[in-house]
């Protein structure tokens, strides 16, 4: 019972993280393609400015939920995926300081260094998380003792790589759409064109990934066993299609919400398809790490549920307030006078 509730919280934390920080990661990835001059670069950075740090805490929370509710899964995942997680960590470190550092000196070389950190620090997490999750969907080479029999290259199989490309594309479209909601004129038009042209690649890779998922994982079989859960992949597909329709009409906010629906639907489909596994084993199904064999004690799960029920609604409340407070349009004038990165 509590294990199931915590499995859902675990999945939702990841889904919300991808929905929120996804646009930061995507916009960071597209940085060199969208911003043509220093003013536009600053507009891009400030379009994420008030949000990226609070968004990143959802990743900490997803990790924290794994540690608190499923310590054995946390231990096996983080040690087994040592190298990709270290790469993810360094990427996030460089992205974080890039925001603070880039505007602190005028020189071109200085800004170029931190712009590079921002781009690499956004692209790499998107790719790594995609590769990691696709591999988790397909199963990791884990033995009964939870030892990971592989290395970084084990993860770079075709399905894993396709997952990585899919994440990068989804976030890129999500980020470009975010920029359209906060800008005007030529930059907004350029971001809109970027989103609509990347959409085709996103759609093709998404369809290919969903098809391969049938052969490489048990997600579809698990979801089909409880047909009500089909609502999740349907939500993702509806999000993907309506995104294109809204973007064509220039209804940018609606397009961004459609993209959010795509992310939530896709991630929750993956999570629902995994249940009760957190880390399925490709070597021996009995060696899989599940919500039941990795869970914390009932007392811990109960106390932590109380904590989450108390605090998360408040967190969602004030984060929503921040999004509403900082939804004004950015332009050369507005980033010139007020406080800005």
């Amino acid at each position: 019972m509590f294990e199931t509730i915590w499995f859902v919280i675990w999945g939702v934390a990841w889904a919300v993280y991808f929905m929120l920080d996804g646009f930061d990661l995507g916009l960071g990835t597209l940085f060199p393609f969208l911003a043509k001059n220093e003013t536009e670069k600053r507009i891009l950075v400030n379009a994420m400015g008030p949000f990226w740090d609070g968004n990143e805490v959802w990743l900490i929370t997803a990790g924290g939920v794994t540690f608190a509710a499923f310590p054995r899964a946390y231990a096996i995942m983080f040690s087994g995926l040592y190298t990709p997680l270290m790469l993810l960590l360094f990427a996030l470190i460089l992205r974080g300081v890039a925001f603070e550092f880039r505007g602190k000196e005028e020189g071109r070389a200085w800004r170029a260094i931190w712009d590079t950190c921002l781009v690499v620090g956004s692209f790499l997490p998107a790719l790594l998380l995609g590769v990691a999750f696709a591999n988790i969907f397909a199963g990791l080479p884990l033995d009964a003792a939870g030892i990971f029999h592989g290395n970084l290259f084990t993860l770079l199989n075709p399905y894993g790589l396709l997952g990585g490309v899919l994440f990068v594309l989804i976030f890129a479209v999500h980020g470009a759409l975010w920029l359209t909601t906060r800008t005007e004129g030529e930059l907004q038009a350029r971001a809109g064109r970027m989103a609509t042209s990347l959409w085709w690649a996103e759609a093709v890779v998404a369809v290919a990934f969903l098809a391969l998922t049938w052969f490489s994982t048990r997600l579809w079989q698990n979801v089909l066993a409880k047909p009500l859960l089909l609502i999740l992949p349907l939500l993702a597909v509806a999000g993907l299609l309506s995104l294109r329709v809204f973007a064509a009409k220039g209804a940018w906010w609606k397009a961004w919400f459609a993209s959010s629906a795509l992310i939530l639907g896709a991630v929750l489909f993956g999570v629902a398809g995994l249940f009760p596994n957190l880390l399925p084993s490709s070597l021996d199904p009995a060696a899989s790490v599940t919500a039941f064999n990795a869970a914390s004690s009932p007392l811990t799960l109960k106390i932590m549920l109380g904590v989450v029920l108390c605090f998360l609604p408040v967190v969602i409340g004030y984060q929503l307030w921040v999004y509403l407070k900082f939804r004004d349009t950015l332009n050369a004038e507005s980033i010139g006078k007020g406080p800005a990165y």
Binding site: Y74, A75, F101, T300, M304, Y318, A340
Partner: protein, 439 residues
């Protein structure tokens, strides 16, 4: 080196480095919040300029503190997976509470504070920096409760091959945790006090913005004196609690070998771990250690020889760190007292002003020495008496840890260099010109 040694080194690098930034965040957030409150109450534009100037330095420091904090959450899983699986039921929960109850608040409102000068009312804006300050201090509470549990595990049972929570309240209210929390905060507040005193002094000696920096100096002088007094009085309690909860750490701190009563305290000593004795000891205070540790001259204090050599921490570094930390505390008290006494005519005290900027690193040093005592003094245990550090390490390859360790050295050296460069640059630049002067 093996995976264990490399992982310990990596953890030490990551933690020492992270803790170069945390104390200033904890202390300066409070000071900036106080400055902005003074601005809201008095309407004095100088206080607004103070808030912005010290706030800018706060943000530069904060950025690296945040990103290096990520490393710690990752490392328990990547390098200490056996530890994480064994105690995650308790330790993982405390970290998760920190994220949901404090870290969200801190990370969300730091941005609102920075971007919100024009968008919020004066009072609402000052509230956001208080939220940041309080959240970072609450964050410290949960982290230190988690660390205190490693130092002195309570409220658990051994079941299903791991430590499981049995009494949450005992974990979060144990005396060890409360003492560790307030001791760490005291050190953090002193760090911020010396930071503001030192930078103010640098400008005062150059007769730059004298009124502005005198105000900053006065705020920091009272603050520094208060926390220097607090830290010395309170620090004693942290040592005293070890006599019952971590006797091997206390014995190493004092280079005390033979269990006994009426144990003297040697003001000068040099431990010889191989010979299980002190090579040098003199200027002894009779029954001094017994009195400090047990409040009775006849109190028994356990010596290191009561424990097998395999269960003793490395004596010399723990002993030296403790001596140096305590010595520094008295320097802080003297400086705090002098700064406070002379605060009204401080601009005429040029020798003192010239020395102050050089003292900024001392609280940083004391903080790191404190963690050296806490963590090295707990060895060979990762959870005192419950799990050895050598049993906690992940089943990973030497090449993996070796590579990441090199990467940590490189990336952290870059971050440290850039961050200290920016702190220097903006500290020297001083505040933005006052509105009247700008016209």
């Amino acid at each position: 080196m093996d995976v264990l040694a490399l992982s310990r080194l990596q953890f030490a690098v990551a933690t020492y480095f992270h803790f170069l930034f945390v104390p200033l965040t904890l202390g300066l957030s409070m000071l900036v919040a106080i400055m902005e409150t003074m601005y809201v109450r008095s309407g004095d534009e100088d206080y607004k300029r103070m808030t912005k100037f010290w706030g800018k330095l706060f943000l530069i420091n904060f950025a690296v503190g945040i990103v290096t904090g990520l490393t710690l959450e990752f490392q328990f899983g990547t390098n200490w997976s056996r530890y994480s699986a064994y105690v995650g039921d308790i330790f993982g929960s405390l970290l998760a509470i920190e994220a949901t109850a404090a870290f969200f608040l801190e990370s969300t409102f730091i941005a609102v504070w920075f971007f919100g000068w024009e968008k919020l009312s004066k009072k609402a804006h000052a509230t956001t920096i208080w939220l940041v300050a309080i959240a970072s201090n609450i964050s410290a509470f949960w982290i230190l409760v988690a660390n205190a549990w490693m130092q002195h595990p309570v409220g658990f049972v051994l079941r299903n091959g791991r430590a499981e929570l049995s009494d949450f309240f005992a974990v979060i209210t144990q005396r060890f945790a409360i003492l560790e929390f307030i001791h760490t905060l005291g050190g953090a507040y002193l760090t911020a006090g010396f930071f503001v005193l030192g930078i103010s002094a640098w400008h005062l000696i150059r007769k730059h913005e004298t009124a502005f920096f005198k105000k900053s100096f006065r705020v920091a002088a009272a603050w520094t004196l208060a926390f220097a007094l607090f830290e010395i009085a309170q620090g004693h309690m942290n040592a005293e609690i070890l006599s019952s909860s971590q006797p091997t750490k206390l014995a190493a701190m004092e280079a005390h070998w033979e269990t006994g009563r009426n144990v003297p305290m040697h003001l000068i000593a040099w431990p010889d771990a191989k010979g299980e004795r002190n090579a040098v000891q003199s200027l002894s205070v009779p029954s001094g250690l017994s009195l400090l540790a047990t409040y009775s001259t006849g109190g028994e204090v356990k010596g290191l020889k009561d424990y097998p050599a395999s269960e003793r921490p490395p004596v010399l570094p723990v002993f030296l760190s403790f001596r140096a930390m305590v010595g520094l505390a008295f320097v802080f008290l003297a400086v705090g007292l002098w700064a406070w006494l002379k605060r009204h005519q401080i601009e005429s005290r040029s020798t003192f002003l010239r020395v102050l900027p050089w003292l900024i690193p001392l609280p940083y040093l004391a903080n790191e020495l404190g963690w050296t005592i806490a963590e090295l003094g707990r060895q060979p245990w990762i959870v005192y008496g419950l799990m050895k550090t050598s049993d906690a390490v992940s089943p990973i390859a030497v090449s993996q840890v070796g590579t990441s360790l090199v990467a940590f050295f490189l990336v952290y050296a870059l971050l440290g260099a850039v961050d200290f460069y920016l702190l220097f640059k903006f500290a020297r630049k001083g505040p933005e010109a006052a509105p009247a002067a700008a016209k």
